[in-house]
């Protein structure tokens, strides 16, 4: 039996009238690469923030590995809110790379990667530095260690944000539109980096509009609309499926902007 990395159980979140999350269920086994696709405003960022319990849901549970995050559910069915300290201990098991990166501008690249290790994982500064150097080296930005985030390019910032998250040895990585803030010529670079991670067996959930990634790298595609997961499965099947009108419409529209993207459905049409 494969182990579970992340599980969402009946997540519900409303902002007034809008349903940002509507009964979201899923289980991500270890090693799986999931892409999360959906129209703007459908609740993708809210979902990622909820998975980290940054935005406690109105209802539902999150499980990281075998551990609940935010709210415990005992086998007898008792619900218990976790203390802030408990939550802080579980959060580093999920790595998050934000759409806006959120690097800390007053710390150098190296400090951005070492500070959480020292404060949260309680590593010794020299161990944290070794770890940071190894990661920055692997991401090919070791030469930028002493620069500040304001002094490096967008693509380099992205790598720093990834290194910062990876340094905590997370069991799953969440990426929120990792390519949306980048210049077009850098998109390919980041995608091949993600492909590298996937080949290395990393568990990932990637919010993306890059269909090339969703189809070729991810092994599973979840499609979200109005806070619901309306389609979930093998990427090619979901993309070419005509069962759900919203999904079909979305991919037809996206394909219009991706001339290199061909799916079986489109080929049939020709």
């Amino acid at each position: 039996m494969t182990q579970t990395a992340l599980e969402a159980i009946n997540l519900i979140r409303r902002f007034g009238e809008t349903r940002a999350l509507d009964e979201v269920y899923f289980t991500i086994p270890k090693g799986q690469v999931v892409s999360l696709v959906g129209p703007s405003g459908c609740g993708k960022s809210t979902l990622l923030r909820t998975l980290l319990w940054l935005e406690p849901p109105d209802d539902g549970f999150v499980k990281v590995g075998d551990r609940y995050l935010g709210k415990d559910l005992s086998p007898e069915g008792l619900v218990r809110r976790q203390s802030g300290r408990e939550i802080d201990r579980i959060r580093p098991r999920i790595g998050m790379v934000y759409q806006s990166l959120n690097l800390w501008p007053h710390l150098t690249v190296e400090q951005n990667v070492t500070r959480p290790q020292i404060r949260v994982a309680r590593r010794r500064p020299e161990d944290a530095r070794d770890k940071a150097q190894a990661l920055l080296d692997r991401l090919q930005i070791a030469q930028l260690s002493d620069r500040y985030p304001g002094e490096i390019s967008g693509g380099q910032k992205q790598r720093v944000a990834i290194a910062r998250a990876l340094a905590m040895d997370p069991e799953i990585m969440l990426f929120d539109e990792p390519t949306s803030a980048l210049d077009p010529e850098l998109v390919g670079e980041v995608l091949s980096l993600l492909r590298e991670f996937a080949d290395g067996g990393m568990t990932m959930m990637v919010v993306t509009h890059e269909l090339a990634f969703a189809r070729d790298v991810a092994s599973r595609l979840m499609f979200m609309d109005h806070g619901r997961i309306v389609a979930d499965g093998d990427p090619n099947t979901v993309i070419s499926s005509r069962k759900n009108a919203r999904v079909a419409e979305f991919f037809d529209r996206v394909q219009a902007f991706h001339p290199d993207f061909r799916n079986p459905h489109q080929r049939r049409q020709r």
Binding site: R91, S100, P105, H106, V120
Partner: protein
């Protein structure tokens, strides 16, 4: 017609008063900053009653004249059975008053940071204390300097009101000398010039400090405009 002996003969009195002004303001700065730190955390917290309490404190302090607050404390404490020297009452009042303005400054500086700064720190597992200490506070220290300087200058000036409850600061020294010499023009011009010198020196020192802070952290843009401070820039707080 100007009588310089009024000034020269009473210079020690003026200087002692000035020293007291500086001392009172310095204490109000330290206590006020402490209050500001605590109250701004309350205002930024997600606990509604705490937020309301802190907001009410700020609104009351900002909406009431300092002289009225001073009297409230100076006459209110004895009414509650707490008898303290006027100097203590005055310092307490000035600290509470300053604290409200510092609260506003800290709140505004934190609000000006992108929300993701706090969130990314918490997401990676930092406790609220660690996130504040490592991520938020270092980033607001720089932007806080100009408004805090401005506000503290206002407090130096407001401390003149302590003369009304007989705290022996600079304005009180002026009133004493004027009572003895009946030369109000000479006396109050002298007092004004001393205040002017204090605020100007303070502003100048703050500008130097700000520049050093900017030099220490090349990543941040600041406004080290000494010239600006020479004109004592900054509006009302």
């Amino acid at each position: 017609m100007l009588d310089p002996t009024v000034i020269t003969e009473n210079l020690p009195l003026f200087l002692e008063g000035a020293l007291m002004t500086l001392r009172v303001t310095a204490i109000a700065f330290v206590v006020g900053m402490t209050i500001g730190g605590i109250a701004s955390v309350a205002i930024l917290s997600s606990i509604a009653p705490l937020r309301w309490l802190a907001a009410a404190y700020v609104a009351v302090m900002r909406g009431t004249p300092f002289i009225v607050l001073l009297f409230l404390i100076h006459y209110g404490l004895p009414a509650m059975g707490v008898r303290l020297p006027a100097l203590v009452n005055g310092t307490v009042a000035l600290s509470l008053f300053a604290g409200a303005y510092y609260t506003e400054i800290i709140r505004a500086c934190v609000k000006a940071l992108p929300k993701g700064q706090w969130e990314s720190a918490r997401a990676i597992g930092m406790s609220p204390v660690a996130a504040a200490r490592d991520i938020i506070i270092p980033q607001i220290l720089g932007p806080m300097v100009p408004p805090v300087v401005n506000c503290t200058m206002t407090m130096i000036k407001e401390s003149s009101v302590l003369s009304t409850i007989t705290v022996a600061e600079l304005t009180f020294a002026g009133l004493v000398v004027q009572g003895e010499t009946f030369a109000p023009f000479e006396v109050f011009i002298t007092v004004a010039l001393i205040y002017w010198a204090i605020t100007a020196a303070f502003a100048f020192g703050a500008a130097l400090f700000e520049r050093r802070l900017a030099g220490a952290n090349r990543n941040r843009l600041m406004t080290p405009l000494v010239a600006r401070y020479l004109l004592l820039d900054g509006g009302r707080t």
